[in-house]
């Protein structure tokens, strides 16, 4: 026979003013199973908790009901009190008589008291069916997988590895570095991007805890938090990295020219190439889509000139498997294609470029040697128009959101233009200047004062050619006049969009993404680093547009989360998970279909004791189960139950009203 203790809280005046607490206690005492009932001013205070602990021992209670505030508030507190008294903490039930009674029925004390009594009775009834539960511990594989080798992936990998946790860093292109490696100088301090990034890239390559797998992609992820299994496809590079010295003879002699992605297609690279001089690893790969030998079986020049014999045209893609405990996704961003802006003549005029192309032009290792040039005739531009919000904040032709970084990098571009071409002038069409950040407003100010960049408030409506000039027409709302700027070069700050592969990757990882393709965080404010799937974290622009400091901060936060996850040998988990009674399971597998976490699999067990015939039943992976109870309600044979919310518990509650 159950022995229930009931503890009713005054919560100062919060409950006592609107609920007649002594009556509730008296009502509780009338219940057969209740062996002890008492009230107290503050149940959550130390003396209050002490009362509970003492009563458990004194009255040999088998379950406890605390009638107080919402269980979302103090359930954990009282559970701890139970376990301190040597009682299983899950034998506690909380009757929410504050949020659900005293605070919402302040005009009718009788009704509030009646309701509180009911709530207590319901909690008592439920607690009678409570079972002892124990935290689940799940073993953890202490290795992290980082997807993407831009600054976000690099930072996350380094921080995790510095905590002596092995990291596998997977990068799609032949070198790590990402977008940041393409930048010239960075706002608001104008540090050289390469100077601050390349040491980190070298660190990644030499770190004893980092395994760098370049030129490869994640193709499969199975398992659950702490116990994932990843399959990585390493694309054939056709170059034996072990023997290659990176001398460069192969790409110097290669006759095939391909638009150079690193330089945004402004110049050409070869079919065998290293993306840029500081690449890590600094070994060339053959681009199978363009290599004449691989396409037609002719040429073979690179193999002839390679003294080490490192070229291997027979190389095949390789599948690498890794067991890992956590994943950091850092796939970065791309630039929106401004083609829909027909009024700007995008695609028709060579002298309209996007800001990343401009970045490459002003970059000292760029295709024009650090001097901006008009793509049409190679002349150095004197008047450059920068247009912000191209595609951003434009629900008609582009994307609704603000790309966040354009205001700042456009100010930077104005300064860089001034540094490279002293007698030039920048005209910047803007809608708002969003410069919230440390030193940002000062930086924009610097662009205006120091370089004389002219800021015009308005969206450009049309660009047309007149002679060799581009006429840029817009409104300057400050003077309420239409203006036309005779420009030599137009730079579009096109919207920052997520990597095109994000939706496919999200499906593969089992996480969600928004309508733009950005991967979704678990909570926009309080869990901005985690995804809804335990053990998968987001860093950098894969989640939303971000500048470098924010990206680095989020990457480090990911590392902290991973380290926290790996802190013990096992992970502790709430025991409120589903369990299957095999004897009742009919094997219909409806539960498998409804489980949002793929936590339910099937297994074959003998039909009867010692029988050789087999039958299929459901099996729940308690490491994955999040305890939603979908499977319980769908189960036709009532073979599944959810600990903490079992059918008897809930039915008891209903009947007790």
């Amino acid at each position: 026979m159950a022995r229930v203790g009931v503890f009713v809280c005054f919560c100062g005046a919060n409950i006592a003013d609107f609920v007649d607490v002594p009556t509730v206690v008296e009502e509780a005492k009338k219940i057969r199973e209740v062996k002890f009932a008492i009230d107290y001013k503050y149940m959550c205070s130390d003396p209050g908790q002490q009362m509970i602990r003492d009563a458990i021992v004194q009255h040999r209670l088998t379950s406890i009901v605390v009638a107080a505030c919402s269980p979302r508030m103090h359930e954990k507190t009282f559970r701890k009190a139970l376990s301190d008294a040597g009682m299983n903490p899950y034998l506690l039930e909380v009757a929410n008589i504050r949020e659900h009674s005293s605070w919402v029925h302040q005009k009718d004390k009788k009704a509030a008291t009646d309701k509180a009594g009911d709530l207590v009775r319901m909690a008592v009834a439920k607690s009678i069916a409570n079972e002892q539960l124990h935290e689940i511990s799940v073993p953890v594989t202490k290795r992290a997988l980082v997807i993407g080798g831009g600054i976000a992936g690099i930072q996350a990998a380094l921080d995790i590895a510095d905590a002596r946790i092995p990291v596998t860093l997977v990068e799609r292109s032949p070198s790590i570095g990402g977008r940041m490696a393409q930048l010239d100088e960075t706002f608001p301090t104008l540090d050289c991007s390469q100077c601050i990034l390349t040491p980190k890239m070298v660190d990644v390559a030499s770190h004893p805890y980092i395994e760098l797998i370049p030129y490869s992609e994640v193709i499969e992820l199975d398992g659950f938090v702490g116990n994932y299994k990843a399959k990585i496809r390493k694309k054939a590079s056709y170059v034996n990295f072990k023997s290659c010295t990176g001398c460069g003879a192969c790409w110097q002699k290669c006759p095939v020219k391909v638009p150079n992605e690193y330089n945004m297609g402004i110049d050409k690279r070869k079919a065998i190439y290293t993306p840029f001089p500081q690449a890590v690893p600094n070994k060339p790969v053959i681009d199978a889509e363009h290599c004449t030998y691989l396409l037609k079986g002719k040429c073979g020049i690179c193999a002839k000139v390679c003294e080490k014999g490192s070229i291997d045209y027979t190389m095949q893609d390789e599948i690498i498997e890794r067991e890992i405990g956590a994943v950091v996704v850092a796939t970065g961003y791309g630039m929106w294609d401004a083609k829909p802006y027909e009024e700007y003549g995008v695609g028709r005029y060579k002298d309209i470029i996007n800001s990343l192309e401009f970045e490459r032009m002003v970059s000292s290792n760029g295709p024009t040697g650090g001097v901006p040039m008009r793509p049409s005739d190679g002349k150095i531009p004197k008047t450059v128009v920068f247009i912000k919000c191209v595609g951003s904040r434009d629900k008609a032709k582009g994307i609704e959101f603000c790309s966040k970084i354009c205001c700042m990098y456009t100010a930077k571009h104005a300064i860089l233009l001034h540094h490279k071409v002293h007698d030039s002038r920048a005209y910047i069409f803007y809608m708002d200047i969003r410069a919230a950040g440390k030193g940002y407003e000062e930086f924009v100010n610097r662009a205006q004062v120091e370089t004389g960049a002219v800021y015009l408030r308005g969206r450009v409506s049309k660009i047309y050619q007149k002679g060799d000039k581009l006429m840029v027409r817009g409104e300057d709302a400050q003077i309420g006049q239409e203006v036309e700027v005779e420009a030599d070069l137009v730079v579009l700050a096109t919207a920052v969009i997520p990597d095109k592969g994000n939706p496919a990757l999200a499906r593969l990882l089992g996480i969600s993404y928004d309508k733009y393709g950005y991967l979704s965080e678990a909570h926009p404010k309080l869990r901005p680093v985690e995804t809804a799937k335990a053990g998968i974290f987001l860093a950098g622009c894969t989640q939303a547009p971000k500048d470098i400091p924010e990206t680095v901060a989020q990457a480090s936060a990911c590392a902290a989360k991973v380290c926290g996850l790996f802190a013990g040998d096992t992970m502790k988990k709430d025991p409120m998970v589903s369990t299957v009674s095999r004897e009742f399971c009919s094997g219909c597998q409806n539960c498998v279909k409804v489980c949002p976490y793929q936590a339910i699999v099937t297994e074959d067990i003998p039909l009867g004791h010692g029988s050789k015939e087999m039958r299929t039943v459901a099996k729940i992976n308690e490491g994955v189960c999040q305890g939603c109870g979908s499977c319980v309600a769908i189960c036709r044979s009532m073979a599944i139950n959810l600990a903490g919310f079992t059918d008897p518990q809930i039915i008891n509650e209903i009947v007790a009203i």
Partner: protein, 160 residues
Amino acid sequence: MEEVKEKIVSIEKPDLIAPPDWKPVIVGILCNWCSYAGSDLTGTSRTQYPPNIRIIRVPCSSRVDPWFIIKALQTTADGVLISGCHPGDCHYISGNYYARRRFLVTRELLKMVGFHEHRVQFSWVSAAEGSKFAQVVKKVTEDVIKLGPLHLYKKENFSK
């Protein structure tokens, strides 16, 4: 078919006049993450609503077995309210969609056996919608009061 349904719905009649001290009982089954949190917010913001509802907490609206609804109507309740997260907001990704589908089928079934459809109601209440929760409870309570006490299907009727 629609006509038949309409006729069946009209089976339930308040054939007994409600006793003067009658107060309806409504069982509210709320998901932990949105609606229960929303009902807590109703409390913290001191929004008042009729005291007839008795709230049961479940992790997700998809945990609600039709059995719970039937059991409640059979034993204690004059009406049942199920509430979950808004579509697309489910803490468990898609549980509220299962809940809605299951609920619709259950309600159809109950209508077929003679319950008025206002006896069982479904709503989306988020953790931020404290005042909406109060409105929902008010509406459900008013609907049930209009219908009167639930005598049909009560155990005591069968045992007599």
